[in-house]
Amino acid sequence: MFDSLKDKLQSVFSGLGRTGALSETDVNTALRDVRLALLDADVAVPVVKQFMELIREKAIGAAVLKSVRPDQQVIKIVNDGLQEILGGDAEELKVDVTPPAVILMTGLQGSGKTTTAGKLAQFLKIKRKKRVMLASLDMTRPAARDQLRILSEQAEVGILPEDDKQTPLQLAKRAIKSAELQGYDVLILDTAGRQSIDDGLMEELVAIKSVSNPVETLLVADALTGQDAVNTATAFKSKIGISGIILTRLDGDARGGAALSMRQITGCPIKFAGVGEKLDALEAFDPARMASRILDMGDVVALVEKAAEAIEQEEAMRMAQRMAKGKFDLNDFLSQLRQLKKMGGVGSLLGMLPGIGKINKQLAAAGVDDSMINRQEAIILSMTKKERASVGLLNASRRKRIAFGSGTSVQEVNRLVKQYQDMARMMKKMGTKAGAAGLKAMLGSGTNSPPGVFGGSGVDLDAMSKQFGSSKSGGLPNLGGMTNLGGLPPGINPNRKK
């Protein structure tokens, strides 16, 4: 039914034709349908409510990108929010302890504990180079022990010999002793599936946990689970205490809202995803993929991302244009620094010219980091307007004043001026050389590397040249009109003005 969600939202917002900040009405209208989408994906009702509040707070007042409708922007925010929650503090299994590191597998019947125990054994053996022993404490399900034994043979790991007369607790103790004596690094205890409301069996699990003192207590949960995810997660968290979740059957076509419910309620990271029946079908959990799966509005999210990219491109073009004309003063420099900060760090400035990862790496290597940006910003802010427009004014006493005003040193001021001058010189050179033929011709030639941008740190602009040279339209990007921003989905007008 939610195939039509996008259309519905579009009809709600069509005709609004404005951009700016998201209003409360924008957000509420869009979230009404997001709520239904999440419920339809089996996210538990209380979790949906909680999440909606979180997003509402985040979204109201957030900027709407040019050429994106408010509802689309909200969906992007929802998607990012989902991703953030699903992803939080994931870490590796803590198996590097004094052996044997015990991993306790818990969950409802049929959630996939035993199969997952086998997969985990193989994973730890191959990826973490551990000697692994499996032990079944399942005395309830007929043949559970046979199943684990067969899996241990397939994975070629150790298995605790069976004993019909022992209780799960006794088995756990024997397993630990046996793993110790045989020098296993990791012991995986597979337990019987149990209903979370079965107090007797839950207590048994508590007892097993306390004798085995596991480094990881994992809740194995089925991605097909509906609203009951809340009950299961709550019970296993409060009664047993878990350290992580493994979500099984993610190779199915369920939207998998249980992932969000479980993550939110337990506060525990989802460590792995089961994606098939074979022993190697265990993957690291991917929050981004899960988010888009739950929301199922990947096309809208992609659209917003594309629009954001287009704006970055536009910005980059504008800069390039100024550069080409040789008009690049300290105000421009400052605005770039600020943009850089807003975008969340270094990397982003040159990242605006897509495909320049190499330069970013070089910047990082040269020690250009965010604190440096802050200091540079302070330096420029300590200058007068005139100084910013005309660097030539900066004599020794002015520099001293600026250093004092910005809490930096004269050396740092000098360095900034030098950087700026190098940059301006380079740009002027680029401008004259390119002449009327336009930026592309110049950049496309890509001959000698210009002097370093940031204090001669040897930044290579060849990559930038290539980017422009290989502009996908095959021709010169129309710097005047900016009409051609290839790759935008139909219906999006890149020229729409605020």
């Binding site: 089996d42 538990a44 007929p142 009951d228 939207r255």
Partner: protein, 307 residues
Amino acid sequence: MSWLKKLTEGLKKTSSSAKSKLSGIFIGKKIDADTMESLEEALISSDLGVSASQKIVKEFEKNYSGKTSDQEEILEALSKSISNILEPLEKELIVSDVHHPHIMMLVGVNGSGKTTTAGKLAKRFSQQGKKVILVAADTFRAAAIEQLRGWAEKTSVELISAERGADPAALIYQSIEKARIQKTDLILIDTAGRLQNRTELMEELAKIVRVIKKLEPEAPHDSLIVLDGTVGQNALSQLKAFLSVAAITGLIMTKLDGSARGGVLVALAEEFGLPIHLIGVGETAEDLQDFNAIAYSRALLGLTLED
């Protein structure tokens, strides 16, 4: 203990039964849009899904909007509209005397409880005096055969199996031939669990069905999907896919002794209208019980049978 008692016992244990969710919503208030939303959420919390919940609430709104009503009355009304949907689908699972043998096949996704259900059904029908053959056609999952053997031994029914990795269709073919010779009443086929979007596995199931039809054009006489009580809205996708490959004739839902209420049955009823035969409310064979629409609808909302 009756299944309903078990069911309501189970529901009582969880703090999130629909009833406790609803309490307080109605007391002394006129029924308005807020009430409707709470009502809708309570139903969604029981896995009825958005569209079935909305439909039920809409119908309720017609009769109750603007009125003041007490909670019991409202729950009664809701359970009535749910049982109205489910009642026509209440259908006992029987082994007919017409077919020799009657062929019953269990399908579903992994971990839904097919093997356990097959064991319980074997016991049920052999106690009814039927001659039963269990076929362990799940040749994939480690120890599935051993699990079914355990049930076969307990209930003294014959088990036909092959080694792990063998072709299930071939095994079933042999079983039917054997059953004809032995004059068996019922062949109960446990198939491997498969996620419905795995084309190669669904193709394997299609082949099983083709092979059965080669010997018995009208078989399988019962093609039963086994659903896990905790399943969410994916059950719709499951049923749709298995219906097209294995011509599902009825539903069995397991694991309703936990905190899950399996409300997706209502959504499935609305969408597909297939018979619901049995629900599983515990570990023993007796805990696999005939589906009773009224009792289930009441239990779903936390009502007991007496009131």
